[in-house]
Symmetry: C3
Subunit: 277 residues, 3 copies
């Protein structure tokens, strides 16, 4: 079975039980309200499609998987209200994105061939698996440089994947991590040569989709992700006390003026953020 579907932000292909979702939100795949809404709708539809066993996410952008949450997201007020209303009890709208992914009945795999920062890195960590291109795949929790802390699940997801020491280094150091280091820290499954990642992930996805009936669902049930309600609450409390301060608003304004959310600026976002006085 093959199917194709496209809107301006997501491209879907389904073949042999594997759905491929390509994110396409130029110029840098910022996670805006519209993209969250489109993902929510598409994943909701796929969750009823019993023929789809695996969902692979990649990006139409050669440099970015998901830049981070759109810095201008507050302008999308209508969509934000809608998302807030739909978020599960106890989760903010960003945490709800990751948890939506974690509850997807299919196996979800990120093919990381570009940069994912902030909410984009949280999307990666929420997926069942991630394989990253050794050269171009990179991850960062850059929130600290913006005057906030991660607010979309990273504190919980990182804590379940690596030592507290390394989670602190990632969040407080706020640097851009290459795929090899991300692998050593447990952040991703593994780093693969850039010219092998497509073959590797596609083969893995096809093999999982070809498993005898019932196996994938049984494994996902036994290895269901832990839910730490208090952890999400603590994260949101920390995030919310910092997210709406004048200092953070000022950083966001200045970094946008200096090139954030352009390709050139996002390739050196840490530098832009560290240079704000």
């Amino acid at each position: 079975m093959t199917a194709n579907k496209s809107n301006k932000l997501l491209h879907l292909t389904i073949e042999n039980g594997v759905a491929n979702i390509t994110l396409d939100n130029a110029p840098v795949n910022a996670l805006c309200g519209s993209l969250i809404k489109a993902l929510k709708q598409l994943l909701g539809e796929l969750s009823y499609n019993k023929d789809v066993k695996v969902i692979v996410f990649d990006s139409a952008n050669p440099d970015f998987f998901i830049a981070h949450v759109d810095i201008n997201i507050l302008e999308e007020q209508g969509i934000l209200e809608e998302l807030a209303k739909a978020a599960p009890e106890g989760l903010n709208i960003f945490q709800a994105v990751g948890e939506m992914l974690r509850e997807q009945p299919q196996v979800t795999i990120v093919k990381l061939k570009g940069i994912a920062r902030g909410g984009g890195a949280e999307f990666v960590a929420a997926a069942d698996m991630c394989f990253a291109a050794a050269e171009k795949g990179k991850l960062a929790q850059c929130e600290a440089l913006m005057g906030i802390i991660p607010g979309g699940g990273a504190t919980q997801y990182l804590s379940s994947r690596m030592t507290r020491s390394r989670a602190l280094e990632i969040i407080l150091g706020a640097g851009l991590f290459d795929a090899a280091t991300a692998e050593r820290y447990g952040w991703i499954n593994r780093a693969l040569p850039d010219n092998e990642i497509d073959l590797f992930v596609n083969q893995l996805a096809q093999r999982i989709a070809a498993l005898p009936e019932g196996v994938m669902a049984a494994v996902k049930k036994v290895l269901a992700p832990a839910k730490n309600v208090e952890g999400f609450k603590a994260e949101n409390d920390g995030w919310a006390t910092l997210a709406f301060t004048p200092r953070t608003a000022e950083i966001m304004k200045k970094v946008m003026a200096n090139g954030a959310q352009t390709v050139a600026g996002e390739l050196r976002l840490e530098e832009l953020l560290r240079n704000i006085v």
Copy 2:
């Protein structure tokens, strides 16, 4: 003190407080009912031997540590009933093998110089430590390809050793992992050059056996393995719903016809299983 004991499946040597148990169930060291019974008896006897501080497991077979649970194990009905009767409350007979190993008063170390799949990989993961030969040591949870999920503790043991992402990759991808990747994932202590593993493990075992009285027992008590009763129940529930279906019976029959449980077939078992239509 030196002692030697042998039955057709297990060879025992004891020297300076280290017991060496060599598994020998030609042609591929399948974990059959008789082998489980022999292990149970020998480990039971050793548990009363205060002079033995460390138990090292290796294999008489140059290619296999334990192939996996014997595909024909259901033919050993008498032994299975006996094992089921003796299994602790809440554990199936395969989970009982691993938990027996985890409750052994001695330090248990696997010297992995060949392939361990399925129930054999679960035996490895239940031991206190595992060192693997970089070239020849390999691990797989191949159950998914047989239409089932691991039912002898792997879902619990892997979850305590590595990220959920990697446990999902191992169980759902069902591939054969080399020792270096197994080390990076936390599956084993470490991979060692094939010509160094004997010296390394023997020296480690001797050193532990030579520790001052009471130290080994005190460490094992403080670092006692966690028991997750609900996790074992969930695993068994998932396994039991798939293990006795016509589809699984058919796979087992076909893979036996195509060479499973022969040396040549087991060296490429994943290929045999993936080629079943």
Copy 3:
């Protein structure tokens, strides 16, 4: 802001929100009662200094970070009684050192450019982060060779950082681990070339200290270290049953006679301990 303070055991520099504490207890930086007392006093003072965001620990000794707890510590009876009185309910005085570090409001980073064994390795593991020099940074829990088990938190700290298999190898094998292996096991954040570690750690510390107000505290609050009261009790029970036996007293006496707590002896302490008959 820059400040300098020195007593015979600790040297303090503060610059741009980063405090650097250099341990200096010749000849091998043994963790004696006086050093614990000095650390307690200095960390207590720093905990009220809102200008200090990060504390970096290093050593004045080119070979040792902290050798281990001073073998002659029982001679400092007055200080020990003082420390025991001040220790939190349920913690022995060595566990209290690590937990003091873990409750420090600042981010604590160890720059490990020499050997840390026993209580010194526990100090390292209690810090928020540790970066080790690939050549000279080394770690060991050597207690087993002394007839005891770690009694200052190692059983808990190691268990939260790595698999049980590796914690058992470290504690029971009691070997000296190089920085690369310590990194692979999760014991430290990472190993760095010896000529890069100063630059790396200083830059990381400066970056964290320069984060917008409130971020560091919010992250430390959300990622607060777990407290396992029962684990500490179990560790102390195991330690206390072995620490005051004639066998341990004899080992301590003999190893002191053979060169322990001298530079030459401590460079090969495992050998000294294994050769005691």
